[in-house]
Each structure stands twice: as structure tokens, then as C-alpha cells.
Symmetry: C3
Subunit: 473 residues, 3 copies
């Protein structure tokens, strides 16, 4: 006789502090925020999924193949990315099932990770799964999810509503015409708010192999002559205006560093033209990119788009995997990085500008207490971004609040950012943040550092006022 499968049960107090006294306070705080709508001002969901309300195809496509948080640890555990269907487009049913089985049979490698926490939440709360994934239970779970995915209440729009998403931001290329966003906004049967985000990285990466064609395309879409730097600036301004007209509230930027040293106009022009001609020196290309980032901040002071910075990642660390499977396949690895000096030129110019909002994210925890909190504790434009990517995890979030709050308080932080392409993980991620903030605040109350009425107020602010203010929603 085989052992009965272990149950999958979500405990009501999960992630709240273990100490009974602190737990009681945390429960009260969490109860006040648990059901509040979700504001998701930065993420990577494809808006077409909501426009067309296409049913999700299968459990692997929903939970495994496109999610590099999931595939990376499976890969580390000896599973080939090819076995998980990475980079292969839509999988046939048997390949999808096989990918799912690989996840379930490696369930133990995710112990103690937020990936496991999110997946368990999604399986239990959205799909009603009651057994722990394993090699033995993989098929049964697969079938249950697959069955639900055929039902109307599991289509994207129904889930969007069930998840109580108040605003969802996507991430979009400046040359995107945003017809999908337009169509969604114009759809009389749809009342959700889905806004685009202006993500111009490729047009600033002057040294990248595709930059020349990228800026040519940008000029063509914007109707400006991007063979000179003035035309590039004009094109950017024009596309930002287009995005704003379609509801965008922010631009997002991810480069190796956040240096923002200005160039003399003549130097910027010279380097730009050399780059268009394919002969900019690498060092000049980097200098121009930094100048361009400063230009983006200048534009932000004029059009009011919140500017989010996500620096410091070595993208595509393993070139053979990049070549075979493409980008975003689990081998982007963080780098050490600073903000104090690199951002100074930008902050000297615009740091006290009433129109600028600048949200600083990092994967290098050392800057939380040393640089980000001190900056956000002085500059009215600067907010400390929520823990991102590898740091969007319970222990890291606690370290972050501990490192940031004492210099920046709660009001200089961004509110939670899910930054996810895994649509079904959105509620679990926001819920995790609410539980953790409730726990942090409860400890302040338990240690008599904050009265409970104020902790309650702060907890609610963090999921309502803060993201609304930071992203001008």
C-alpha cells in the first residue's frame, strides 16, 4: 500500500511572526489590509492576454516554462532547460505534462524559497489543490489544473477581477503603438485599468549590436530624424507623450550602473553621430548612455512620468544558454553597485524638482542602509523601491525593512512592486508583502516602538497611499 500523499494546506498565519504575542498584533494588522485591492505599478504581464481573454493553455505554460524563477533552480538541480520547454514556444500536451512532472518531482529543491511559497499559494487558493506536489501526485494535480483552465472563471479577465487588481502596469517598448492598451481601454465589456510602462533601455544602450537599427526604428515610429542626438531626444519625448496619452505613469530603466554624468552638448552630438555610424568607442558609448539617462530624468521633470531604476545585473551570464534559449532564462546574476556618487549629477539638477519621482531598486543589499535610505531620507524625489527579484522573498524583505526604515521611515518607500510575468502569482506576491509588513509593524508595536493605531495606519498606507502617490495613480 502506498503512503497517502502529503496534504497541501495554507495556514492562515503563514509568514506572520511565530511569537504568540507579536502574532496577535500582526493578525490584526494583516486583517486590515488582506482584502484591499491590488495596485501593481510595475510588471511584465502581456496585455494581449487580457484583451483577448485567451484561456491559459496548460499548467506548464502557466507555472513552469516562462518563469525563470522556477526554471533556474530546476536547471541548477540537473534538469535541462529543453526538458522544461524553455524557448520552444507552445508545448504539445505530453511535453507540457513532462515539464510539470519535473517541477513536481523536484518540489523539495524549492524548500525555503519564495517560489515555492507563491506556487503553493496559487495551487491552493486559485486551483483548489489539496495535495503536495511530488512525482506521485504530479499527474493528478496537472489534470485538476488543466480541467479548471477550461472553465470560464479561470480565464484571464475573470482572474483579474477575482484577484481584485485595481491597476496593472505592463512593460512596453517605446516603439509599441499601444493598440492593445487602446483596444482594452476602449472595450465596453472591460473595466479594469491596465497601463503601459515606457521601457527605453535598448535605445540608451549605445554600445549594443542592435542599437543602430533600434534608433532608426525609433525615428521612424516617432517621425523624427534620429541620425542626430536632438532627433533622438525629440523622438523620446514624442513617444513618452504617446505613452502618457495611453495611461502610462512611469518609465523603467535597467542598465549596468546608474551613473548620470552629463556630457557637453557637442560631445553628446559627436558621440551620437559616431554611434549611428557604427564607430563610437566603447567608453564613449557608455558615457553617452549615462548622459541619456540624465536626459530621461529631465524629461520626467517635464512630463511627470515616475522614473524607476533597476540597475546592476550581468544579463545572460552564461552565453551558451543565452544563445540556445534566449534572454531571461535564469542566468542574469547581480553585481555590486553604488548610488551615492553615480546618481549625484542627476540629483544635483533635479533631486528637489517638484515634478520628479525616482524609485531606486537594487539587488545589492549593501546599499539599502548605506545609500538608498539616506538618499530617500533627504531628496523629496527619491523613494526606496521594494525588494526586487532575488530579494522579493520573506527574509530579504525583512532585512530590507530593517535596513531602510530607520533612515527613511515608511513613507519614503515605494509600496510593493511584483515585477512579475507570472500572472497568477500576483495575488500571492502582494499578499506575501502585506503579511511581511504586518509582521514588521507588529514587532515595532510589541517592542513598544509604535502604537498599534499608527501601525495600522502605516500598514494601510503601504498598500494604498504609497503606491498611488509614488506612481501618480
Amino acid at each position: 500500500m502506498s503512503r497517502p500523499a502529503a496534504p497541501l494546506v495554507l495556514h492562515a498565519d503563514r509568514l506572520l511572526p511565530a511569537d504568540p504575542g507579536v502574532l496577535e498584533i500582526a493578525r490584526r494588522l494583516y486583517a486590515a489590509v488582506r482584502e484591499l485591492p491590488i495596485i501593481s505599478p510595475h510588471g511584465h504581464v502581456d496585455p494581449a492576454v487580457l484583451l483577448h481573454d485567451t484561456p491559459f493553455s496548460d499548467p506548464a505554460a502557466l507555472f513552469v516554462t516562462p518563469d525563470h524563477y522556477v526554471t533556474r533552480l530546476l536547471h541548477a538541480s540537473g534538469v535541462q532547460l529543453a526538458e522544461l520547454g524553455v524557448g520552444q514556444g507552445r508545448l504539445d500536451p505530453s511535453a507540457a505534462r513532462e515539464a510539470w512532472r519535473l517541477l513536481c518531482s523536484h518540489w523539495h529543491v524549492f524548500r525555503g524559497t519564495p517560489v515555492r511559497y507563491w506556487l503553493e499559494s496559487e495551487l491552493a487558493e486559485i486551483f483548489g489543490i489539496t495535495v503536495r506536489p511530488s512525482a506521485a501526485t504530479a499527474d493528478q494535480i496537472y489534470d485538476q489544473i488543466a480541467d479548471r483552465l477550461t472553465r470560464a472563471e479561470f480565464r484571464p479577465r475573470a482572474l483579474f477581477e477575482q484577484f481584485r487588481i485595481q491597476v496593472l502596469a505592463t512593460t512596453d517598448d517605446p516603439t509599441d503603438d499601444l493598440t492593445v492598451h487602446r483596444a482594452l481601454a476602449d472595450d465596453p465589456t472591460w473595466s479594469g485599468r491596465v497601463v503601459p510602462t515606457f521601457r527605453p533601455d535598448r535605445y540608451l544602450e549605445v554600445g549594443s549590436p542592435t542599437w543602430q537599427e533600434d534608433v532608426a526604428r525609433l525615428g521612424s515610429v516617432a517621425g523624427t530624424d534620429t541620425t542626430g542626438f536632438a532627433g533622438w531626444v525629440e523622438a523620446m519625448e514624442s513617444r513618452r507623450a504617446h505613452f502618457r496619452a495611453h495611461g502610462a505613469v512611469s518609465s523603467d530603466h535597467s542598465h549596468e550602473d546608474v551613473r548620470t554624468d552629463p556630457l557637453e552638448p557637442a560631445d553628446a552630438e559627436r558621440i551620437y553621430r559616431e554611434a549611428v555610424a557604427g564607430r563610437a568607442a566603447p567608453r564613449d558609448a557608455v558615457a553617452l548612455r549615462r548622459h541619456m539617462l540624465l536626459e530621461m530624468a529631465r524629461m520626467a521633470t517635464e512630463d511627470g512620468l515616475t522614473m524607476t531604476l533597476h540597475p546592476g545585473v550581468r544579463r545572460g551570464h552564461h552565453t551558451p544558454t543565452l544563445r540556445t534559449f534566449g534572454p531571461d532564462t535564469g542566468h542574469d546574476i547581480p553585481l555590486r553597485g553604488d548610488f551615492t556618487d553615480p546618481l549625484r549629477p542627476l540629483l544635483e539638477r533635479f533631486g528637489t524638482h517638484p515634478n520628479l519621482k525616482l524609485v531606486l531598486f537594487t539587488l545589492d543589499e549593501t546599499v539599502f542602509s548605506r545609500e538608498l535610505a539616506p538618499l530617500a531620507g533627504f531628496y523629496p524625489s527619491v523613494y526606496v523601491g521594494a525588494p526586487w527579484w532575488f530579494l522579493d522573498a520573506p527574509e530579504a524583505v525583512r532585512r530590507w525593512r530593517s535596513a531602510v526604515t530607520e533612515s527613511a521611515g515608511f513613507t519614503r518607500t515605494s509600496g510593493f512592486i511584483d515585477d512579475t510575468r507570472a500572472f497568477c502569482s500576483i495575488p500571492a506576491r502582494h499578499d506575501m508583502a502585506r503579511r511581511l509588513d504586518s509582521g514588521y509593524l507588529a514587532r515595532l508595536v510589541a517592542e513598544r516602538r509604535l502604537d498599534e493605531d499608527e501601525a495600522l495606519d502605516a500598514a494601510v498606507d503601504l498598500v494604498t497611499t504609497q503606491p498611488s502617490e509614488v506612481f501618480g495613480l
Copy 2:
């Protein structure tokens, strides 16, 4: 009917651990240190305040305007520094009241910060305030404090005594004649111990625009010819002797880094003379500053002044604010920094010298476990300085003890340093440190890592033996 104002109540167990078992131990440890006198071997109180025993003028001058810990987060929250009276000298009564109102109406932005903790302690314990500051209660609190400030028992000398301050160190320029300290020491009606601290930074910052006139003035005060490096050394030695004769126990140093590479005597002389002539290369100026810091250590081995190093801050990060409001107005931002290699030349020469005491502070937490504790765990001259500035806060202090103790124990740390210019915050700051150390030690006891009698001994040492030994008091 308006809501009654929320009360302001200090709980006896504030900052102690929440777990009931650990709390009980912590209470016992804290009880043993709570009432012990305060040793404050480094800070920024103006000794003239004690000499003249001038009443504090108003609540804004006492709690808001001069304290960049307070004004910075208000500024980040959209308040102009001008509205807070920064850089304006003494405020008229209505401006002072207005500045106070701005603090009270932004009380919530300080949630979870040590600034709030200190202010609450001061308001409740010194001034008997019983309502939580807010826009509604601002005037009432202002009036209550203002009233008390007119009373004899709230004048500086009375508070000094009430605070149980055993030693208070000020921070002074080498050219200061220390007549204020002399007068205070000679005052038969005064029995407190107030000692100067030798702070020679400006005379080492060879590249600064004022350096030439600074060293000229130094020479004139010391009666030596500072047009050559030997004269500079002689002047420094002479002024240190003057400070020692007036009770000084330490010199304090804050430069961008702690490099101490020696120069050949001829190079030092050459660069020094070029600098006096206003034509030292920037790189040479920095090299000379590092050599000068090494010289200060050499002097310390001879005269026994404890040497405290506070490196790694970008001062005046926002130039427009610096120009309008001056230095120390909230936009000094920490930098990454190392000690292992930079301090090596100094430690190779003097690290085992029986006369040297070197206290290392940092705003870069990464060096606590990586460099400071290992250095203090070998060199008999090196002590790890208490968490400083942005890190003088409950969560940071806990991280610091956790990071430092396992390599350096308790006896290689400096004892608490308040480093404050806010006179009334001194008892609250020392009390905070005592509570946190009691909590840390209580956890060691609760986890059976230390017997309670030893924890008690360590707790008492940290506020008596340690600072006395480290600062030769």
C-alpha cells in the same frame, strides 16, 4: 466633537525583546545599567551653552532647526528647509512655532525611526508631554515646552546634572584657544567634566579651497612656521599638547577614506610646499592627506590621545542646498569603504604600540564582520566604534552586535558614542543603547550561550569599563 488626542506614553519595556522569556532576562540586565552615569566621549554640544547656562530659547531651536536628523526627513517629505528656519540664526517666535508645527504635523513620517524614538523620550521624560504630537496638538505641546524652558530646572547645567552626565566631550578646532573649556573647569560653581576633542580635518584636507588660509592660521596660533611640512607637524603636536592640557582625551578624523600610505619625507615636503603655493596636483594633495593621517597616528602613540576615525561620507551631496543652507543640513550621504588594506600602513607601524588606541567607525555595514571585527580581534590598539549616525538606530545596532561580537567579543568595542549636537537627546540615546545591549545579551542567555551573571557583567562593562578604557578616562 473632535477626537481626543492620542496619548504619548513611554512603556517601561520599550526596545526590549518581545519574547516573554527573553524579556524577563533583558529587564534584569537593563535594571542594572539603567541608572548608571553617562560617559559621552564624542559629541557636538557647544560648551558655551554650559558655561553660560543660557536657557534654551524655544522648542524649535531645541528639537528641530539645528538637528539634521530631524530636518532631513521633513525635507524629503516636501517641507522646505527655510520653513524650518535652517541657516537663519535665531527664529522669531512665530517662525519657531511654525517650524514646530511642521514637525508635529509630519509626526507620522518618523514612524519606525530612531529620531521619533528619541523625540518621544525627550518630550515625555524631560518635558512631561503626555499627548502625541500632531497638527492638532502642536500648539499645546509647544506652549508646555516653552513654559518649562523658562524654569531654572530646565537650564543646561540643571539638565546636565539631571542627565547624570559624568563626562561630556565636545568637538573643537585645533586653533581653538579652549578658553570656554578653561573657564568652565575653573568655575567653582560647576563640577561637571567637559573635555575638548581635537578635530584637525580641515588642516589635512590639502585639496580644499580654504586649506592655505587654514594652515596659515594654524601656524599663527601655534607660533610655528607652517610654510613647510615640519612646521605643520610641529604645530599639530603643539596644539595637541594644548588640548591635552585642557583635558582632551581624543582626536577625531573624518576623511573620505582611511588610507594611510606613507610618503617619502622629501615627497611630503615637496607636495606640502606646492600646496602652500596653491599648485599641488589633486592626486598629490590626497596622497599628502593620507600621509598626514599616518602622522596623526604617530603623534597618538606619543601623547596618548585616542584616535577616532569616521570615514566615508560624501558631504554636501546636494550643492544647491549646501550653498543656501550651509553644511550639516541633511544631505551628507555615505559611501562604500574599506579598512583592511587602507589602514594597513598605519597598523604595520603602530598597530601593536602600547600607547595607541584607534576606534573605527563606519556607515558601511559591510565592514563590520568582514574587516572591523577581524582587525579589532587581533590588534590591541583597535576598537570597533559603536554604530554611528544613520546606524545609531535599534535595528542597525542589533545588526552591528550580531556582526561584530563573534569575532571581537564585547571588550573590543568602544562603548556607546552619541555623537550628537542635540543636548536633550543624550540620555535617550544612551538609554537606547543600554536597552539594546540588554536585549542582545538577554538573547545570548536565553539561547544558553552565556550565563546570566556574565551577561550582567558585560552589560555593566559596556557603560563603564569600556568607554573609560578606550578613551583613557
Copy 3:
């Protein structure tokens, strides 16, 4: 009448979490691993001690003189290394007793350190000491230990068995003929497993003063011509094969950084020959060392020796002490260091090679969450090494699990590594790790992040499966 000596008592729950609810879970987890055999895949015990089963000479030789963890903090506290017998070979009885007294009279300086924790465990558990060390109890304890050391059950082989050591790795020079290991393996009266570790650092440190004679000796032992780089490679391969034939499972590498940039073959050859001739430029010497480290990884993919990297220490920080007392005398100080870019050339080539196992250690905690966990969470060859040296301590271990687990889980970590030359500390060190992992897992259970059956499984894996898999045992 003198006060009775304080007792020395080890509490059964030491190091487990203080919270009663978490403690109960932790006790159950710890009970499951407490008695499991010890796998020690990296350390510095001398195998001759086991071959000859020589009785330990005295308490100072066992606990004080050779252990830089112990002597360093005594030195920081004003004790001269000479008084502790460092660098003096075998001490005479009175000198040994004096060294022991110095440890006991400074017992308080070790409060809160793991050294104290280990020593207490060893004194109580192995030697039955029941009084706390102090100046007053030093002689009595010395006599009790000295007495036991004369008994058969306190000889090395008996202790090896009592400690339940399943595998013990030593650290050995590539030119070592390993006759001691061979003799031990061939001894019919001995059934323990003691394996050598290939530690070739000196042959890669091209810039060191002894390198020329080192590689000459290497060539002579290996029977190859090491005047050219091909001969160096051949010699290394040959010695690795010799080590494998004697049971080695890993090679260990400690250089200033982990850069692994490849050189063109002609450049490698040129630099190598220049170095043999004593005229390689320092920069070239470093470049060749990095290339050589890459070569070691290539060899590892062929012979399967696990590769452990321990970078980032400034060895012999205090030259006067180094000259008088030799290396490993307590003044090696950690440095900041990165892995993401430095290791990339190696990982690009071999990171997904099925034969490579690469364990990354650090003394710079900042890389745990930023680099090591992300790398180990993608590359199947990479494991995060257990906290090492200054970080092998309760608070640091907790920070490490907190920083690493969320990106790398438990299965991408190395299992505990004691890395010790203090034979009697081996059980205390492994026990400490088991207690801390039990506590970490118990908290996950208490916070409803992991079911207890899985926590139990993970706890057992960490002391069985993980080290066995990572070191191919």
C-alpha cells in the same frame, strides 16, 4: 572564604531558538540529526596524529597555542603571542600551564564568540570539566585535562571513533607523497576514512618569492619538466591523479580573487617562462595565476575532484608578527570580493559540465544574496559553501541561511565544513551547525513556510546527502 567557582554546564537547548513554540519544533529536528556521523570534507588536521595515535601533550597544545581563533583575541587583549607559546614548538610544562592560565584569566573576552562556545563544549563533553575557566580555576582544569590526556580513551584514534567521524579530509601539498595517508589506509588496526585534499596554491602564486623553487620541486616530484607551462600542467595532472589514487575527493584554492580570465596559449607560455626566469611582470604573474585557476577547473571536469574556492583574505596583515611568529597566527584579514564577473570565464566554459563541482566560500557576506545564491541557483556545478572562518559562528550562520536559502534553497549548499586544525573542536563545530540548521528550519515550520516532515528531511539531508553529493563521497 572565597566564592565557589561558577559551574560550567552545557544546556541541552543551547543555540536553539528561545521562543518556546519554535524551540519545541527545533528540538525534534535536532534530535533527528544529533547523533548522525560526521562528514568532514575539508579541514586541517595532521593525519600523522591519527597514524601514530600520539597522545596530545598538554592542554595548551590542544586548546591554545596552535589555534589562531583563540590566540588572536588574547593578543588583542594585550597578551603577547610569545606568552602563548606561538611559534615555539613544543612548550615545556610550565610554559604550557602559563599559556593555559592566560586563556582562563581572559575567559570573559570570549563572551559571545563561537570560540568560547566550542571550548566550553569540548571542556564539558570531552573532558568532563564542570567549572567555568578563570584565573582561579585554571590550574584545576589544567590538571584534570592533563590527567585525561594520559588515558587511552583520549588518544586521537579513540576520540576519532568517539566523535563518530565517518570521513575526515586533510589538506596537503601536491608534492606530498601521501605515505601517511597510505600507511593509515593500510593499517589493519584502523578503519577510519581519512582522505587527502589537493591544495596547490603556492604553485599558482606566480609572483611569490618561493614560486621558482616550488615549481622546480613540483617538477621533480612529478617527474616532469616544469620549465615550461605544458610541463606545469602535466605535473599538476599527474599529482592530482596521485591524490585521487590516495582517496582525495577535492582540490582547495585560496587566492586573493577568483578571476579566471583565460590567456592565449602563447601568452601563458611566455609569462610562465619569464616567471621561471624570475622576470615576470607582477601584473603578468597575476594574469597567469588566474589562467592557472581556470586550468584547475578544466582538470576538475576531467578527474572529478570537487573544487573549493576560499578567496579574499589579506594574509599576514601585520608583517612584524608574520616575521616573528609565522603564518596563520591570527592577522589574516578579509577583503571585499566579487564572484559574478570574476568567475564568469570559468562558468562560461565549465559551469554546466556534468563533472564539475565547485564550492564557493567567502568572508565577504555581501556576496551571499547578491552573487553566490544566484550563481548556485542556476549553475548545476555551483554550491554555496558553508560560512567559513570568521563567519562560522551562530549569528553569521543564521545570516547566511537567511541570505542564501531564498535563491538557492538547501540543496545548493555544501553541508557543513569545519575547516579546523583543532581536532577536538570537530564535534562541537558540527553540532553547532546542526543546532543552527534545526533552528532555522524550525522557524520556517513555525511560520508555516514548510511542513515539519519536510524540515526533518532537509535537516537530515544537510548532514548526509549534501556533503556526500557535493564531495562525491
